[in-house]
């Protein structure tokens, strides 16, 4: 656990970068510092490993004031990832990753073996180990940066806008990779970003800072979205808070009908029971061989003639947002529920979605297991203070819901029929 106790950073010219910041960074979870430029988020991060010294207040690392620890020793115990990766250009990738193990005096063979293991862990081909940083793409360099930070297995990881210099597609994959790693490693991560979407995606806790270095709000992402403390936080969160918050509501509570048709529309399945799309009732049944193509879940794969696109979601894993999105993609207005293997489970009608949305609107959201994160999270932490529907813990983690499942985030009686 990292604790900020009234931490202030004031520069010689009187500028206050961080103003009396007090917060806790829980062990084994991702805490994101987010805010506009000039809000002191990076300064706050850098005070943890003493790259910047606090003017007043204390920062405790597992109860120990960081100022009692000699900076290099402190830093060797804390992984540090920066924006441009900051790889040493004159060293091969493997030696870059092994930087801290070398500093700690590991023997070369052990350090290199560890480095190779980490390269694999962050999803890099170990063939890259013998290359130099300039031979890698930005995204690859950033992965190496993460591997390097993890090399000596530090319990704490500081990440200073690590993904903001790569293109959006690479950024998304790096974010997913980080969440996957975190699910395995359970590091205490402090992550700085100016991107609120990144904060919401990655954070177990999000601390919003305002210009002048004051804490505006600290909360889990769902609470942040549903109850921003003031206009600044609300403005910073941006538009579509309601819809984005649905990412944190599991779709497991939505009522699913097992019949593959609704009035006017039929679901076309392939030989493995995977949906291919919707066909209107009046369309002719295609002649010829049975359709046997693998449709992708978002319906982007070419569908047979006369079959219209569809949207699908997995009630066991996906959020209500995914379910709503799936419904909006289909001409029938209904979402298709699939199981983990992508096989048809049932149909979710607009009415069923409406009921689930209504429940979600009042309830404190619980975080579904697969809403972009595989990190186990404390579900329903904050339930009970909203007064309305208290989320049922099992709703978030409840596994394979049958086609007629009716458990909802709002508890009993959410939707029992199709």
């Amino acid at each position: 656990m990292i604790t900020f106790e009234g931490v202030t950073k004031r520069y010689g010219d009187g500028t206050v970068a961080v103003d009396n910041l007090s917060l806790r960074v829980p062990t084994g979870a991702v805490t994101v510092f987010v805010g506009p430029s000039g809000c002191g988020k990076t300064t706050s991060l850098r005070m943890i490993n003493r790259m910047i010294e606090a003017s007043s207040g204390r920062i405790l690392l597992d109860g120990r004031d960081v100022r009692e620890i000699d900076p290099p020793t402190l830093r060797r115990g804390i992984g540090y990832v920066i924006q441009q990766a900051g790889l040493f250009p004159h060293r091969k990738i493997v030696d870059n990753v092994a930087t801290v193990p070398y500093l700690l005096g590991w023997d070369k063979k052990k350090a290199r073996a560890r480095a190779m293991e980490l390269l694999e862990r962050v999803g890099l081909d170990t063939k890259l180990a013998g290359r130099y940083p300039f031979q890698l793409s930005g995204g690859q360099q950033q992965r190496v940066g993460v591997a390097r930070a993890l090399a000596a297995d530090p319990p704490v990881l500081l990440m200073d806008e690590p993904f903001s210099a790569v293109d959006p597609v690479v950024r998304t994959s790096l974010q997913d990779e980080l969440l996957r790693l975190q699910a395995e490693l359970h590091k205490t991560i402090v992550f700085v970003t100016h991107d609120i979407d990144e904060a919401i995606k990655l954070g177990d806790t999000v601390a919003v800072l305002r210009v002048g270095g004051r804490l505006a709000q600290i909360a889990d992402p769902a609470t942040l979205l549903s109850r921003p403390e003031d206009d600044f936080v609300e403005g910073f969160l941006g538009r579509d808070r309601g819809i984005r918050r649905l990412s944190f509501v599991p779709a497991s509570g939505v009522a699913v009908r097992s019949e593959p048709h609704v009035p006017g529309w039929n679901v076309v399945l392939d030989g493995d029971g995977r949906p291919l799309g919707w066909r209107p009732d009046d369309a002719a049944t295609p002649s010829g061989a049975p359709v046997n193509r693998t449709g992708s879940r978002d319906g982007s794969a070419p569908a047979p003639d006369g079959v219209l696109p569809f949207g699908a979601f997995d009630p066991a894993k996906d959020s209500l947002r995914a379910a709503l999105d799936a419904a909006l993609l289909a001409p029938s207005g209904c979402a298709i529920a699939v199981d983990g293997a992508g096989r048809f489970q049932g149909i979710v009608t607009r009415e069923a979605l409406d009921r689930a949305l209504l429940q979600a609107g009042g309830a404190e959201p619980a975080r579904p297991a697969g809403s972009g994160s595989s990190t186990p999270r404390e579900v329903g932490d904050e339930a009970g203070n909203s007064g309305s529907g208290v989320s049922d813990r099992s709703s978030a983690t409840g596994g394979s819901d049958g086609p007629s499942s009716s458990r909802g985030p709002g508890g009993d009686g959410a939707a029992a029929h199709g």
């Binding site: 790259m51 924006q83 040493f88 130099y132």
Partner: protein, 223 residues
């Protein structure tokens, strides 16, 4: 051309204390000693100033002084002050000539290392000296070598002035040749100095290959 043939064809020029091998050796010796002394002064200073950022004014002064320095005048002055006969007076202007390029390039090289890189190095837990020698110096190596190369070539070229004050080296051929109107000797000496300078250049190119990481010079093939 004939003068060159005269000079290099004369067997008397290839042996004895006046012969080309001896003179060449003397020349290389002066130059090497001067360069080593300059390195001893300029490299630590350049590293220190580049690493700490303190004392940059010194570098600016050195850089400007280098342009204004009258080498020959300095040699004569020193000789007048200490008398003829020893080697070291001639080293003073050579060192004074070689220090600025080494100092300036070492400083620039170290100071110019990417801020992010330094930040990452400290953030990983490297200490100041480790940041300097494990990160800044390797990355600055091409510039440091460039400074040394410039200095070495200037020293080799300028060491001819040693002959003015009665010392050996390839300058003897030039100065004596001029004095006795022995133009083949003058031209031959000049050509030898030029060849030596080229040889120095070549040495540094090879040194660069060995000392600069392929990751910095970016001259490695993808594997």
């Amino acid at each position: 051309m004939n003068w060159l043939i005269d000079f290099f064809g004369d067997p008397a020029n290839w042996s004895g204390p006046d012969g080309i091998p001896v003179r060449l050796l003397e020349h290389v010796e002066f130059s090497a000693v001067a360069l080593l002394l300059s390195m001893l002064v300029a490299i630590p200073l350049g590293l220190l100033i580049g690493h700490t950022g303190r004392g940059a004014v010194l570098v600016v002064i050195a850089a400007n002084a280098a342009r204004a320095l009258p080498t020959l005048g300095l040699v004569v002055l020193i000789v007048l002050l200490v008398g003829v006969g020893t080697t070291w007076p001639v080293l003073v202007p050579l060192v004074a000539l070689a220090v600025p390029p080494i100092l300036v390039n070492t400083y620039e090289g170290v100071r110019g290392v990417d801020e992010d890189l330094r930040d990452a190095a400290y953030g990983m837990g490297l200490r100041g000296g480790q940041v300097l020698f494990r990160v800044q110096v390797p990355v600055a190596m091409p510039l440091i070598l460039l400074g040394l190369r410039i200095a070495a070539i200037q020293v080799v070229a300028t060491a001819t002035v040693a002959a003015y004050v009665g010392l050996g080296g390839l300058g003897r051929y030039i100065i004596d040749g001029l004095a006795t109107k022995d133009f083949p000797s003058t031209i031959g000496g000049a050509v030898l100095v030029a060849l030596l300078a080229l040889a120095v250049q070549l040495c540094f190119t090879l040194l660069q290959r060995v000392l600069v990481s392929p990751g910095v010079s970016r001259r490695t093939r993808l594997r």
